[in-house]
Amino acid sequence: MNAIKFAAAALVASTAFAGAAIARDQIQIAGSSTVLPYASIVAEAFGENFSFPTPVVESGGSGAGRKKLCEGVGENTIDIANSSSRIKQSDIDLCASNGVAEIQEVRIGYDGIVFASDINGASFAFTPADWYNALAAKVMKDGALVDNTAKTWADVNPDLPAQDILAFIPGTKHGTREVFDVKVLEAGCEATGAEETFKAAGDEKAKGCTALRTDGVSVDIDGDYTETLARIDANKNAIGVFGLSFYENNTDKLQVATMSGVNPSTETIASGEYPVSRPLYFYVKNAHLDVIPGLQEYIEFFVSDEIAGPDGPLAAYGLVSDPELAKTQEMVKNRTPMAALN
């Protein structure tokens, strides 16, 4: 019994402490681990160029970050959620039910997703169809869907090296996986004609397009890119999926494959030639703008040309700068809340 009393006393004591605590003076950010490096670069530059303290940037995933943002308004909720995918209607509903009315959606740029293998191995030139034919559970053969039996990349496409198929792809909890599914597998599914066959067979949404084979040639990586890199290091035949910025920091260990004949770079991604990319966002709680010191300055600083522009530190680290940055700057200045999702 005593232990319980003591625990209760500790709780009461901590509540009293909390009441005495001073107001929060630093910005709190949480969310996507893809946006984390960019957000920490900006936070660091913000801290050293302004008299405001350096914001605290937490990772934990896009979904978790948006959920935290929508927990409510107040000093013990976060101000900004980083996200590598667009906010969902369910998040907006959650926000509304917790009294978070106005949210700004700020697109900071684009993230390229690249396919890379060991630097000393063979080089690859892929198309989405190659990936679909290599990894999907069912592929088209002579006009019908059959189980995938391809063993080497040459089985998939005679132009590719005769190297065993082994792919390290992001696990389903990653935002990157969604992009891989949509921009690579579904595109390949469509290109090989499998999508039509799926639909004809009654699979309305062609879900079979993203069903992967389970015989061990495609390995889900639930960790981060450092884990994928370590796996490739141990398994020289493998091909891994990385973010462009991660690849650019490890060009001495990895070689990148082209996709549909386009080499991934900030230029080809910005121009839209390289197909596998996605926009990155952060979401700001407008109710906090005049409460948390420096919040407005921080978001303006984030999207300024000096930081997010093509010559800024974010682009140098691998972020593809947004061609419509000026529009975003204008929007942030006017604190325009996001419109309803279409």
């Binding site: 019994m1 005593n2 232990a3 003591f6 625990a7 500790a10 709780l11 901590s14 509540t15 402490f17 909390a18 605590a21 001073i22 929060r24 630093q26 709190q28 949480a30 681990s33 984390l36 490096p37 957000a39 920490s40 670069i41 936070a43 660091e44 530059a45 801290g47 050293e48 160029n49 008299s51 303290p53 350096t54 605290v56 940037v57 937490e58 990772s59 934990g60 927990e71 000093e75 013990n76 976060i78 630097i119 981060d224 890119y225 450092t226 973010g243 910025s245 991660f246 650019e248 920091n249 490890n250 060009t251 001495d252 000096e306 530190p313 140098a316 680290y317």
Partner: protein, 452 residues
């Protein structure tokens, strides 16, 4: 009589063909089994030692280099025309100096140094040359200028961090071959660094900043340090010590000396033993639900981490304290009561002092366990990029901070290979803390423990 002799005859008869001095078949089997068991035991010990050696060599070989850092020393002219256009040294105006205006000063200073010393490498222009210097340098200059506005217009000698790749070159992580493939550095830049070294303006030193500097972003691994993490861990340990020790000792004394033996105390005892075995992440979930969402304590703050770790450490301390109290012979208690001491006097004057070494050992081991804990901190927002040092206690307990194991976790996720070295270095620092704490616990036990 005849029966007895017959018995002896049969008994000796069983020994037929066997001698007590010759090893029989069954004995040999038993001895072989024992030898096998001893071999297996030895193999297990050797295996664990090899595993430990493997782990330590990997950590030490990766991490020891993080205790040294490469610096470039040069004179930089702090141009008044660029830094203070009004010329009035007004602190409010000086605040507006950005690192973007300081960067060109470093570039031209480097150019000047290279010209004066006649250093040049083909294919390395001014922009490429300045890449040898860390991106932290402009921030370092800006801090220095804001603290000493009178230096504007003069020439000051600075020790600037070399960039992570250059630092890696002198630690063997980057080679000429890897640089040829690396987009962030070229072999020519490495040659330039070698010339700097010959000229004596580039050298490597003991890396004090690793222990004092805050974390840095992915673009400047060379500037990342453990300052905030060490401070955060220290704050949390302080909270754990201040809360868990008195609560744990009070609970143990009550349970051991005062509580009646009934079903309720049995239930509590079982639950304390169970709590000690609960996975630590569960305490993190509890911390998030109670301390942050219900009580409203701030995110990422050492106070929340400390409270969560207190809950985690309490069972360990209670179990150790009860064992220590039990180990004190009852005759001491009886003697104290016999000469008229009250129960409380007997406990505080006689039993507790004798049990103190055991209690302290348990507490230190509990603290060491809490120091290395990451999982509960994941959920309460301490796995974060934190650059500001928390303030002095008690207000500092509510400021965001990081923690040592969390810093290791963070750094292993970064893209730049230089962070692998930093993470291993942080592991070494953490291990040193743990070894010191455990050594103190052993010392206390050896020195003060009494056996009856």
């Amino acid at each position: 009589m005849t029966e007895v002799t017959a018995d002896i005859a049969t008994a000796t008869g069983r020994l037929d063909g066997r001698s007590l001095f010759k090893v029989g078949e069954r004995t040999r089997k038993r001895q072989a089994a024992e030898r096998r068991f001893r071999m297996m035991g030895l193999a297990a010990v050797i295996f664990s030692i090899l595993a430990l050696i493997g782990l330590m060599t990997s950590i030490l070989s990766n991490g020891l280099s993080s205790f040294r850092q490469t610096y470039v020393t040069m004179d930089i002219h702090l141009d008044a025309a660029k830094l203070d256009k009004q010329g009035n040294r007004n602190p409010a105006d000086l605040e507006k100096i950005t690192t973007f205006t300081i960067q060109p000063l470093i570039q031209s200073a480097l150019q000047k140094t290279m010209q004066e010393r006649g250093i040049s490498v083909d294919g390395v222009n001014a922009k490429k040359a300045v890449e040898l210097i860390s991106k932290e340098a402009p921030a370092q200059l800006r801090r220095f200028i804001l603290e000493n506005p009178q230096v504007i217009g003069t020439t000051v000698s600075f020790d600037l961090l070399a960039s992570g790749r250059i630092d890696g070159y002198y630690k063997g992580r980057v080679t000429m071959e890897s640089a040829a493939l690396d987009r962030n550095i070229s072999p020519e830049q490495l040659m330039l660094a070698d010339k700097f070294k010959q000229a004596g303006i580039l050298e490597s030193r003991f890396n004090w900043a690793f222990f004092t500097a805050p974390d840095a972003s992915d673009t400047r691994p060379e500037a990342a340090g453990l300052g905030v993490a060490i401070l955060g861990s220290a704050y949390m340990m302080l909270i754990v010590l201040v809360l868990a020790l008195p609560i744990g000792v009070a609970a143990s004394i009550y349970l051991e000396e005062f509580a009646p033996q009934n079903r309720w105390t049995d239930l509590i005892e079982v639950n304390i033993a169970n709590l000690a075995a609960v996975p630590s992440i569960v305490f993190g979930i509890l911390g998030l639900a109670i301390f942050i969402n219900f009580v409203g304590l701030p995110q990422s703050a050492p106070i929340v981490g400390g409270l969560v770790l207190t809950l985690m450490t309490l069972p360990t301390i209670i179990i150790a304290t009860r064992a220590a109290l039990k180990a004190v012979p009852p005759s001491i208690n009886d003697a104290a009561l016999g000469i008229g001491a009250s129960k409380m006097q007997a406990i505080f004057h006689h039993i507790l002092p004798l049990a103190a070494p055991g209690i302290l050992t348990g507490t230190i081991i509990g603290l060491a366990q809490a120091l290395g804990e990451t999982a509960p901190l994941l959920l309460i927002g301490m796995v974060a990029f934190v650059r500001e040092y928390p303030g002095a206690p008690p207000e500092g307990f509510f400021d965001p901070a990081s923690a040592l194991p969390v810093q290791v976790y963070n750094w292993t996720q970064r893209g730049d290979p230089a962070f692998v070295e930093r993470a291993s270095g942080a592991i070494i620092v953490l291990l040193i803390f743990l070894v010191v704490m455990n050594a103190i616990a052993i010392l206390l036990r050896r020195r003060f423990e009494r056996r009856w």
